[in-house]
Amino acid sequence: MLNIVWAYPDILNLHGDRGNLFALERVAKLLGIETKVTKIEKYNEKIDFKNTDIILFNVGEVKVMPTLVYALEAQEKELMEYIEAGKIIILIGTTGCIMAKETLRADGTKFKGLGVLDMICTERKDVYGNDLHFTIGEENTEIMANQIQLIDTKLNSDIALGKVIYGMGNNDGNSEGAKYKNVIFTNALGPVLVKNPWYTEKLVKLAMANKGEEIENAIEKEEFEIELNSMECIKKFIENKRKEE
């Protein structure tokens, strides 16, 4: 059984990212794994960290982030134990702020994050939207996504999740996202786990391995035919953009 916490789905609901949850469920099903999804809907609700394998934080408005940090601080000890145990947290887009050291808002104010990721976020005065193509890890797992950049991210140490091939990423060299243990922050939208099910498969397998259940079988490539075709089309689109730029 794969236990997923869908964190604050109504509050973190900007860019169709509930699709990320659908992708986790679909890939788990293809691997023959049952899933249980628990919604945490209100700030005063507690997360059952002991019985959770993946926590998904989708994108939300920057203004809600301090409230989220405050809510999670109420369970900080359990949260840190969960993180140190190598369990998975996925933070999409703006929700990177909650695990950052600090976020500087466009109006000059700032708020502290939980400090798990050694990075500083800065809210942009203007929005930047583009495609985002990058690779993750030594295996160079290829990710095709979109980006609506509301915060720029400066990494203070070598914690980048991936390397940008095309697009902006963190707006800090060619780094994209950040990672500490299995706390994964990415700017990638799409929804990213829908468009890149090969990465979703890795995450699901990792979550199961974390609790001693190694998944040996791999999903047939044919299952991901639509997504692979999509990636090829968008690569061509990007190539044409590069020629015009």
Binding site: E61, G129, L150
Partner: protein
Amino acid sequence: MKKIKFHIALIVGKTIAFIVNIIAKGRGTNLSGKYAYKICKNFIKEFKNIDYSKVVFITGTNGKSTTNNMIINALKTAGKTVTTNLEGANLITGIATAMIKNSTITGKIKTEYMIFETDERYLKQTFDQLPAKNICITNLQKDQVQRNGEPDFIYQKIKAVLNKDMTIYVNNEEPRVKSFEDIGCKVVYYGIERNDKSFEKNDFYDVTLPCPKCNDKVKFQYYNIDNVGKFKCVNCGFKSEDDIEYFAKNINYEDNTFECGNTKYTMNYTQPFFLYNYVLCIAICKNFGISEEKIQESFNTFKNIGGRLETIKYKDKEIKYIRIKQENPETLQSALDYVSLDKTNKILAIGLEELKDFKPYYTNTFYGFDCDYKELINSNIDKYICFSEAVAYDSANILIYAGVEKDKIKVLPTEEIVDILEELDKYDTKNVYLITWLHAYEALERHMEKLK
């Protein structure tokens, strides 16, 4: 010096308007204003004879043009004179063009009222030069994220112009705009009663939005349209008002009537979002002293220009085109809902397409995951055709995730009209719906013209 510049700009603007009117009537809706602004920096600020209590800005994500057109029609029916950017040119240059056309050579506005649809991003720029005393905010939804990022981005821009000396008209059932009530303006709420087209969303995967006041979850008792309905925050208790003056009740879709106050109105357009436009129009008109009779008379003659529905004949097929706004899940949902109402066998061609308004172009389709496809899937669609150069596969994937069988979907990674029509030729189904951007439909229209 400022005055001299204004008068030169006004003469140049009037000359351009005169020429445009001769050579291309109805076009160049920004042109006079654009050139006037090149000469005079705060051009519209310099006009005289303006009663700001009779100036109205209509802003928000969806429904600006329709509401604007409806109000203009009502005021004109009541014999009032109005300056407006009816053609939808909603930036400051469009407003300036309208003012050039409706002023004397000395810069005096000739009309009693000024009603302008105003782009929400540039509201402050316009307001700083033309401080309207009435602002209607229709709704604030996810929209054009490459420009706007998140609704709060626009929320802050609107908030920046609101002050205690003005009247705001806000939708009682849309949480974001209703929360502007805290600023201290005079607030006029408008809304509609639960009706036969209202619906609930209680599926596990249904999501709402954060409370604009405390950031916790907003819960809807029911929806009249997507993201609009009777609501309450689970934490702070912020909610839609129970008793408001401008409230459409006893909505009857069989005889096309509703009541507001003690008056029964007849409507030509019965989609629920139109009801909100009707009630907002009533609220504005009543506050300007227009009689119920004149308002009803205007509803009888109101025609929604630039509507979102068109029909085109292709061989033995009828293609019904539904326009959607780019990166706007609400208009996509409305289009899907419209298709779902037709339970006969049909083909749905859907082209979400790449975003090419400005650089960098990009391939966003993620707003498709904000929509609900249950009714669509149960409405007898024989075939789904997903087309576009780069995102046809992504569009198909959205449908597959929604539960459409893979073999019912044809993916066409192209925007070539010939290819799309060739695909349509393969099916006997005569009833075809097309959902895409306007430019793709215009390409289809041009192609059909060539075939004639």
